[in-house]
């Protein structure tokens, strides 16, 4: 199987002299970046992994793209992804699956699978993904690279094609923690085009400068609920990584987050509800695709036909379930309860982080699935997101860093560290300790 990392291979030169904004001496001059295909690039197709947007060429750049260009980076292509970010394997892409360079024959994780695979395969130095419920951390863990999901509001979402606005953030991938942090330095910061961004500059010189590996005196909370559902060999690898941090001066204690038992259902109700609203805009009028069928006089039929042809199964599933959850008579039962669960999750994390500097768990409870293994049972796929979705519900930052390989199958295992809001430097410092042997 071909790697199929990119949907569009076009290069966008940041240090091109034709680009006035570019800076040949910028912090990312000479560095290559793969960009997830739901981040708008002016003049370069942005498909979201969907047939619906196969021909769509944005007339403007996302804020993160303008910042990449200004920093002198070279974009090497638009990376494959689960359709509209909906999936954990990159298999729901309308452009075919991506192989995992770190574990051939297995999925790279998702939804930012192409981005993680690009870094793992050396096709790009760095990559941008987006994380609505784990879509950066899951592929980082599966491909053995580093991925950061920033605090909600640290990075502008202007130009990110929306799936679940209240949950998602754009974030960086790198081969090392310092690399990923250096990309975060470029994309982070307030943007008048995204009113949810906050001015939260790093305390130190930069995020990259925080990658010191110093964990002396760091207290790590380990939520027992996030170990319960994980495979034994994943848990073993996780504890080895904790022992490594302990040997460098960190301490750990177990904590309990009872609310996370309800995080997956709360996440899916909220994400699907937001998706049903966000994806209503794809009706074939403003972005294509061309309608083949001429329906006589009823525009609803025309829209329904375009959406039947343009969306894949997982996207239809989420739009329908979201429409249902928001419909009269069910809103209080599903959406309102999910918002209660979200507030509860936030409280639990705040409490646990008042007694620990960071919280640690396996990023994914399993090692990478084999290609094709998991497509038939959507609910089982959703449950694999148990450790990542609580972080999005709580709006907190998290990093996934390689913890080692599973003893059972030799496949990559990721360690997730979660910190307080805008505590990215602490996560970067702690995660980088695993890279210094």
């Amino acid at each position: 199987m071909a790697a199929n990392i990119f949907i569009t291979d076009e290069r966008i030169e940041g240090d091109d002299t034709e680009n006035e904004d570019a800076d040949a001496d910028g912090p990312l001059a000479g560095r290559t970046v793969a960009v997830k295909d739901n981040i708008s690039t002016k003049g370069v197709a942005t498909t979201c992994g969907s047939a619906m947007l196969e021909e769509y060429v944005p007339p403007y750049d996302a804020t993160v793209i303008s910042r990449l260009k200004e920093a002198g980076a070279t974009i090497v292509g638009k990376a494959n992804m689960d359709e509209f970010g909906m999936g954990s394997t990159t298999e729901t892409s309308a452009f075919g699956p991506t192989d995992n360079p770190a574990a051939p024959g297995h999925v790279p994780g998702g939804s930012s699978g192409g981005s993680a695979a690009a870094v793992a395969a050396g096709e790009a130095d760095l990559a941008l993904g987006s994380d609505t419920g784990g879509s950066i951390r899951c592929p980082a863990a599966f491909c053995g690279v580093v991925g950061i999901k920033p605090t909600y509001g640290l990075v502008s979402r202007y130009g990110l094609v929306a799936y679940g606005n209240s949950l998602e953030q754009i974030g960086p991938f790198g081969e090392t923690v310092e690399d990923a942090a250096a990309l975060l330095d470029v994309i982070a910061g307030p943007d008048e085009r995204d009113a949810t961004t906050r001015d939260a500059a790093p305390d130190g010189e930069s995020y990259a400068a925080a990658a010191t590996g110093d964990v002396d005196g760091l207290t790590i909370g380990v939520p027992t609920e996030l170990l319960e559902g994980a495979d034994e060999d994943v848990v073993d690898t996780f504890w080895d990584a904790i022992a490594d941090l302990e040997a460098q001066g960190a301490e750990y204690h177990e904590v309990s987050l009872p609310s996370v038992e309800h995080a997956v259902e709360a996440y899916y109700v909220i994400a699907m509800s937001e998706a049903s609203s966000n994806l209503a805009r794809f009706d074939g009028v403003r972005y294509g695709p061309e309608t083949e069928t001429e329906t006589e006089g009823n525009w609803n039929e025309t829209f329904s036909q375009v959406r039947k042809d343009g969306f894949g199964d997982e996207v239809k599933r989420r739009i329908l379930l979201g429409t249902y959850a928001l419909s009269a008579g069910y809103h209080d039962k599903y959406y309102k309860k999910a918002q209660d669960a979200r507030a509860w999750v936030k409280q639990d994390f705040d409490e646990a982080l008042s007694e620990a500097d960071v919280l640690a768990s396996p990023t994914m409870p399993v090692t990478p699935f084999e290609q094709g293994e998991s497509l038939d049972d959507p609910l089982q796929m959703y449950l694999a997101d148990a450790n990542t979705v609580p972080v999005n519900l709580a709006d907190l930052p998290a990093i996934s860093v390689p913890a080692g390989e599973s003893d059972a199958d030799g496949l990559p295992v990721g360690l997730q560290l979660v910190g307080p809001a805008f505590g990215e430097e602490r996560l970067i410092r702690a995660a980088s300790a695993l890279e210094f042997e």
């Binding site: 021909e55 769509y56 060429v57 007339p59 403007y60 008048e192 009113a195 949810t196 609310s259 309800h262 997956v264 259902e265 709360a266 899916y268 109700v269 049903s276 009706d283 074939g284 009028v285 403003r286 972005y287 294509g288 695709p289 061309e290 309608t291 329906t295 006089g297 009823n298 525009w299 609803n300 039929e301 025309t302 829209f303 329904s304 036909q305 959406r307 039947k308 199964d313 239809k316 599933r317 739009i319 329908l320 379930l321 429409t323 249902y324 959850a325 419909s327 039962k333 599903y334 309860k337 999910a338 918002q339 209660d340 669960a341 507030a343 509860w344 409280q347 959507p378 609910l379 959703y382």
Partner: protein, 92 residues
Amino acid sequence: MSDDAVNPEAVRHVAELARVDLDDEEVEAFTGQFADILEYFETLDEVPEVEREAALTNVMRPDEERDSLDREEALRNAPETEDGFFKGPNVS
């Protein structure tokens, strides 16, 4: 599509609300999957009522005139346009 009775008619009804045409095989597959997923969502009933303290701040900017996307650019991705407008299907 109440929780104990996810049936094909209910799936078709929601699909109509969402403006997504489904063929028979999709209706059949979704009926089974939605029953499983909604049963799982039922566990939200166990969530206690939670005091939500949203620390929200309004973010305002001055209401000043500024350039926007020009019309040609805005229309470039549309399959059909007419006289500088998007052209949609007929409204009956």
